[in-house]
Amino acid sequence: MSSPQGAPALVLLLVMLLDFAVLGTTRLSTCIRAVALQGLLLGALPLLLASTLSAHVVVLALGTVAVKAIALPWLLRWAIREASVRREVEPLVGFIASLLLGAVAVALAFAVADRLPLPELRTELLVPVSLATVIIGFIVLITRRKAVTQVVGYLMLENGIYLFGLTQAESVPFLLELGVLLDVFVGVFIMGIVVFHINREFDSLDSARLTELSD
């Protein structure tokens, strides 16, 4: 693997650091700030990677920032306020163990990405960082108890998929826009959290309490 260079590589490293910020933090607001910042970086990447600046790329970048860095984090904060969620993360797996799992995920992502052949890319970090973000998002999704943190995990999973889509953005138009469709789910989930709240029978947003239906 040749040494990664330039701005895209730096941005991708930051994206990966933010994955770890979410894994390690005890505060919900830090989680949300981290995915918002990740959304901002994701918006910048199409501009940095494009060979020529077309209107399409600019619109994609602006749209990504508007949805991932502004709208969804704002909705998440609104849901926390509206549903008066407690501000701690409450993991099912401890923070140290989560960070270790994250490190394993990164190692795995680099190992897998090394074996998968890709046409020449601007930066070789794109595929490993994408896979690592997908896996870490999945870890957050399944090891955190609160519905809000699960949404954050899903958002990271999606961000990872978006990064992978960047590898093909030039050859297949509108591929990345499919990822934005997934963001609709996130919006629905956040609405769902507030509906939970309105449905007064739920006195906590702990999804581990959603256990009435089981065998």
Partner: protein, 482 residues
């Protein structure tokens, strides 16, 4: 033109049903129900016409009714027609909030499943599957209580993770396609240049698409949303999901299997499919025993049948034919059973076995259909499911997988016993003293009777054109006709 109409008609009328004025006194507007039934009829008529005279591909080949798609589209259309008739009776009995959203969501569901069935572009296929997820969410949440909220949350969370993984798999498939060899993600182009696809990426794409769409199918171990969702959703919605939605998700799995087989990676894909199939059968067998709620029982039966579908696909040969026939049988039989259970729930307010005894006496028509349905869904002759399950079993024996055949038979027997205990208890038992037979409205029984008749027919006679389509589909999946 007909293909475009098939996709557009439900979507446009969904909009119309949303803006039609509601009737006074909380009843569902007659116009809205007439619209639902009319669209279902028109859709079924158009699908019927596709069997008589094939329609050319449109939109640059993005929409085409090939054999696989046409079979799934037929399941969707027939099941929807039966369910729409049922809905006319159902919404007159139970109508929170006038049924405006309910009818619109059903029509959007029909449109989205039609797009999935006809789609030849794998990104459009994915968009269609995502749309079905959204369309059924308000249907599951119909009762707006705590339990249905929990069910819809579980369903949305688990299936959207599945949908996300399927999107990643779709991206992997783009990476597998060498530049300049055909249009990206177009199925015919993928198949034409299958040999040139990059094997490592194709394997990764197959696994992610299988797990992603397998989640939507409800294959074990991604099936955990199924009992809760089917248990809490209105029965007719559970029927549409177990019959139509899962068939569409299976079609997605079949599409990527088509590509993998054409690329000569069958030896990689087939054991994975067989593994998921046997695991689903085992999970169903374990959880069917001791169930106390008939809707949850049917949900595990659905896990079983999803397992059989991928098992047939994985065994190849005549198994592929068996799977395609099973799509048809399972889809219609699940609709039949859930609609009948819907009648039970309408009469007694519960699907728990404990409060439903002696159904043969209290609900003569539905009770009889329930008992017949028990034999149909467990694959007893003379129903269609016997034929398709037998074909899959033959594929296992012919392929030299005696152990797989033995395990399959054993698990099917366990599932039969588990289901029979619960359903016969409900049908025979003695009803609460003083209960009188309930009048079952015509709208509520015509759908399940029609579905039962078709499933019975498929067990004794497969029409020529259908046999041709099944054969073509089996060949496309790397198999053959028996």
């Amino acid at each position: 033109m007909r293909l475009l109409l098939l996709c557009a008609l439900p979507l446009v009328t969904a909009l119309l049903a949303g803006i039609l004025p509601g009737a006074r006194s909380g009843r569902v507007a007659f116009t809205r129900l007439a619209l639902l039934a009319g669209v279902a009829l028109a859709h079924a008529a158009l699908v019927g016409s596709l069997w008589v005279t094939p329609a050319p591909a449109i939109l640059g080949g993005w929409l085409d009714a090939d054999a696989l798609g046409l079979i799934v589209l037929t399941v969707v259309s027939v099941l929807f027609l039966a369910t729409a008739m049922y809905t006319v009776g159902y919404l007159q009995r139970e109508t929170p909030r006038g049924g405006r959203l309910f009818v619109s969501a059903m029509l959007i569901f029909l449109g989205a499943t039609t797009v999935v069935s006809l789609s030849q572009h794998l990104a459009m296929l994915w968009v269609g599957m995502e749309a079905t997820t959204f369309a059924v969410a308000p249907l599951i949440f119909h009762r707006h209580d705590r339990r249905s909220l929990e069910a819809v949350w579980k369903y949305l969370l688990i299936s959207s993770v599945g949908i996300a993984l399927a999107l990643l798999g779709t991206f992997f498939l783009v990476s597998a396609q060498p530049e300049g060899l055909g249009r990206p993600l177009m199925l015919p182009d993928l198949l034409a240049h299958a040999e040139a696809l990059h094997p490592a990426w194709l394997r990764a794409a197959f696994l992610f698409l299988l797990v992603g769409f397998g989640t939507k199918m409800g294959l074990a171990p991604m099936h955990t949303w199924k009992p809760d969702t089917y248990g809490e959703a209105p029965s007719l919605v559970s029927g549409l999901m177990a019959g139509a939605l899962t068939s569409c998700a299976f079609l997605c799995v079949a599409r990527i299997t088509q590509v993998v087989m054409a690329a000569g990676l069958g030896s990689f894909a087939q054991p994975v499919l067989i593994g998921f199939g046997l695991l689903s059968l085992s999970v169903a067998a374990v959880f069917v025993i001791g169930q106390s709620d008939v809707k949850r029982l049917l949900a595990y039966s659905s896990v079983e049948h999803m397992g059989l579908l991928v098992l047939g696909l994985g065994l190849g040969g005549v198994g592929a034919y068996g799977s395609m026939l099973h799509v048809l049988n399972n889809g219609l039989a699940k609709g039949w059973m859930f609609l009948v259970v819907g009648n039970v729930v309408l009469a007694t307010g519960s699907s728990a076995a404990a409060v439903n005894r002696g159904l043969l006496r209290t609900l003569p028509v539905s009770g009889t259909l329930l008992v017949l349905g028990l034999f149909a869904v467990t694959g007893s002759p003379p129903f269609g499911l016997f034929l398709s399950e037998f074909t899959i079993l033959r594929a296992a024996v012919a392929g030299g997988h005696i152990w797989i055949a033995a395990i399959m038979l054993l698990l099917l027997a366990v599932i039969f016993v588990g289901m029979a205990v619960l359903i016969l208890e409900m049908a025979l038992g003695s009803p609460e003293p003083g209960t009188v037979p309930v009048r079952e409205g015509g709208w509520l029984v015509v759908g399940p009777i029609a579905l039962a008749a078709i499933v019975l027919m498929l067990g004794v006679y497969i029409p020529g054109p259908l046999n041709d389509a099944l054969t073509r589909a089996a060949v496309a999946l790397g198999g053959r006709a028996p």
